[in-house]
């Protein structure tokens, strides 16, 4: 099926090798505008590593990441890795462009984490306001001496954060300590915090982990809602098949770092390679 929407995120031949272990092997992936894409695979398949390659936490060993049509991360095997490299497409990429995570976030790619990483010592409101810090322009002196600009920016930041909390049903909890929230709300807060960075692409790492069917049903609706409301393209890792099959338009399947299938939910469900990876084939 052809998709004529523009591609906002493209991974080309992304390979991540740690020592002798190829954690992600030649991953090719596309996320179109306003699409919800799923990335699934058994434990240890390399899904989170792929996320870390996109967000700049790791430098991929080979391959390129393109965000909104511009190559922002590119690498090829260098140094010791030149001889040790086990992946494909060696020599296809020549440049070495790296990017720190905060820069990737500034480009409009926000993420959540598999094991919730909220700022423990801060309130719910502060957690969201922190994510807006990068968009403020006042210098540290202006902020300390409470210049007019700093006060205005602080006020705008607070208003926007409260607005955002209303949208994700956390307004009542705004002054609570982030870690005192129940688990499901912590997940919501993490997503809200990511939204506060004004992303165009949202990466969700197992948002439904540890949720019961009712909660994951709510989450599914929630993700669909924020996609429309915030004009997002979403790439999500998930184990709950109910969630993945329910909202993803396109699914990529990883196993042992390699990409074994991609397609619509119906195609994936019928794919023998996927069934084998999940249930084990007859041997």
């Amino acid at each position: 099926m052809m998709d004529n929407r523009e591609v906002v995120l493209r991974l080309s031949d992304i390979t991540m090798q740690f020592g002798g272990v190829v954690a992600v092997d030649n991953l090719n992936l596309e996320v179109h505008k306003n699409e919800i894409v799923g990335l699934i695979g058994p434990n240890g398949a390399g899904k989170t590593t792929a996320f870390n390659c996109i967000t700049g936490v790791y430098e991929p060993t080979n391959g390129a990441v393109e965000i909104n049509g511009k190559v922002v991360i590119e690498n090829h095997p260098q140094g010791k890795m030149k001889d040790a490299y086990k992946g494909r497409n060696n020599g296809k990429y020549t440049k070495a462009i790296t990017m720190l995570p905060d820069k990737v976030t500034k480009l409009g790619v926000a993420r959540t984490f598999q094991n919730i990483r909220l700022f423990k010592g801060m309130s719910v409101l502060e957690n969201v306001m922190v994510a807006m810090h990068m968009n403020q322009t006042e210098s540290v002196f202006g902020a300390t001496f409470r210049s007019k600009k700093a006060r205005m920016e602080e006020k705008a930041m607070k208003e926007e954060a409260l607005e955002l909390l209303k949208k994700v049903d956390l307004y009542e909890n705004r002054d609570d300590l982030a870690t005192s929230l129940p688990y499901g709300k912590q997940r919501h807060l993490e997503i809200a915090r990511a939204l506060a960075t004004h992303p165009s692409i949202l990466l969700l790492d197992e948002p439904a982990a540890g949720m019961n069917p009712q909660e994951s049903d709510d989450l599914m609706r929630f993700i669909g809602r924020i996609r429309d409301e915030f004009d997002l393209s979403i790439l999500m890792i998930e184990h709950h098949m109910q969630v993945i099959m329910g909202i993803c338009e396109h699914i990529y399947v990883l196993n042992y770092g390699g990409q074994i299938a991609d397609g619509t939910p119906a195609e994936i469900q019928a794919n023998p390679a996927v069934i084998e990876a999940y249930l084990g084939g007859d041997e």
Partner: protein, 435 residues
């Protein structure tokens, strides 16, 4: 009854409290005769506010940005020297720099400005070297920060501690003698006339630190402290913000160094060693890592204890107790034990991560009488509960002992270890488990 005041009342209360305190210190220093116990209080406030400033600056790094840095004494040293060098009167240079032909710098900023614009010039002449000391330290910290801030936790502590020691050795270097007087003492530089000066400068600086912490940058610092990976994913440039925190913290350490130089009237690089850094760390830990209020309280308590209350421990007689153990240095032993006890049993410190607030203070104050009245009752209830718990525990112990004795007896007689249960549909009867 919980007290809730509006912001205007709070500001007024704070202004009144600060003004009263400053007047007390000013008059106290002016009129209380030297040698009396009350004069000791003024000295404690004077030195305490200098330590409060350096502790607050260290807390900005350790408690709010999560950078375990131990370089504070080194930065204080640079600040102290930078101030002193430019304020030694021209006439005193020959005496102070007697081994270095009167040194290179033969003038004093205070004298020059005082000669030009009178008494105002005197204070400007003091203020410029002090601010300059802070700025110079900030520049040095910026340069040190470039390599050092890429390190994490313990490694950062080791590196900053190392730099502090290098700074100390550098200032004692004989080749630099014409400027730093080598390993000799710098003295005769201009100092303040009244104890209100360090209190005022320290207070303003701490207020600035608090304003920074409560700004959007302060939030970013706390985010880095709580979770670096998440902070980075939220678009916070880790290195830039760590550098900002490090430089600002060092700036205030430099200012406090200059104040300490004025307080001591003579300075030498030797005491700015790791022991001093640990003293500051002790203050931060006692007060509560992550609370500026705690650092201030901790600084005054520490100074009062070391300069006043525990003095006797070093001179052989304390609270009427005499012991041969109490000889110079014993105070340090007591402090060491104290920090161990605090870390083991009271790791939160006095304030934890809370700050002072009028609401909380007045609520506490209002509840104090009723709390005090209820105290004996509560104490009795507590001790009764403890007694009860002890009794329950003793009973359980006795029962266990009995059961054990019973078991032993059965074992000895070769009978079953388990009591056979009556036959029913649901319970399986144990077969005899003989030996």
């Amino acid at each position: 009854m919980e007290v809730r005041l509006n912001n205007k009342t709070k500001a007024a209360l704070s202004a009144i409290a600060v003004a009263l305190f400053l007047i007390f210190v000013f008059l106290g220093d002016k009129f209380i005769p030297a040698g009396s116990t009350w004069k000791m209080l003024i000295t404690v406030i004077e030195k305490g506010s200098i330590y409060a400033l350096v502790a607050a600056s260290m807390n900005l790094l350790n408690g709010f940005t999560g950078l375990f840095s131990l370089g504070q004494a080194g930065f204080m040293l640079i600040g102290a020297y930078s101030y002193a060098i430019f304020t030694i009167p021209a006439g005193s240079h020959e005496k102070v720099y007697q081994y270095f032909d009167g040194g290179i710098i033969k003038w004093s900023l205070v004298e020059i400005l005082e000669g030009k614009i009178g008494i105002l010039g005197h204070y400007i002449g003091m203020f410029i070297p002090m601010l300059g000391a802070g700025l110079f330290v900030a520049v040095i910290a910026y340069l040190i920060g470039i390599p050092v801030l890429r390190l994490k936790s313990d490694y950062l502590a080791i590196a900053t501690l190392g730099f502090a020691e290098i700074i100390r050795a550098f200032f004692q270097w004989n080749t630099l003698g014409p400027v730093t007087n080598g390993s000799n003492v710098l003295r005769k530089y201009t100092t303040y006339g009244n104890a209100v000066f360090p209190v005022l400068i320290g207070g303003i600086s701490i207020a600035l630190i608090l304003l920074l912490i409560n700004s959007t940058y302060g939030r970013a610092f706390k985010a880095i402290r709580d979770d670096e990976i998440a902070a980075e994913a939220m678009g916070i440039n880790l290195f830039k913000h760590k550098e900002i925190s490090f430089v600002i913290s060092s700036f205030f350490a430099g200012i406090s160094g200059a104040l300490l130089a004025m307080f001591q009237t003579t300075i030498n690089a030797t005491p700015f060693n790791t022991v001093m850094t640990y003293e500051i760390l002790l203050i931060v830990v006692i007060g509560g890592i992550g609370s500026i209020t705690g650092s201030v309280i901790g600084a005054f308590l520490f100074t009062a204890a070391s300069e006043w209350w525990l003095r006797g421990l070093d001179s052989g007689r304390w609270l009427g107790i005499s012991s041969s153990l109490m000889r110079p240095g014993f105070r340090k032993v007591v402090f060491a034990v104290l920090i161990m006890l605090i870390v083991l049993f009271y790791a939160q410190g006095i304030m934890g991560s809370k700050e002072f607030s009028w609401d909380r203070f007045l609520t506490w104050w209002k509840r104090l009488p009723s709390n005090l009245k209820a105290w004996p009752e509560r104490h009795r209830a507590k001790s009764e509960a403890r007694k009860e718990a002890r009794a329950v525990k003793a009973a359980a112990k006795a029962k266990a002992k009995e059961a054990k004795a019973d078991n032993e007896a059965r074992k000895a007689s070769g009978k079953a270890l388990f009591t056979p249960l009556p036959m029913s549909d649901h319970v399986i009867v144990f077969e005899k488990e003989g030996k």
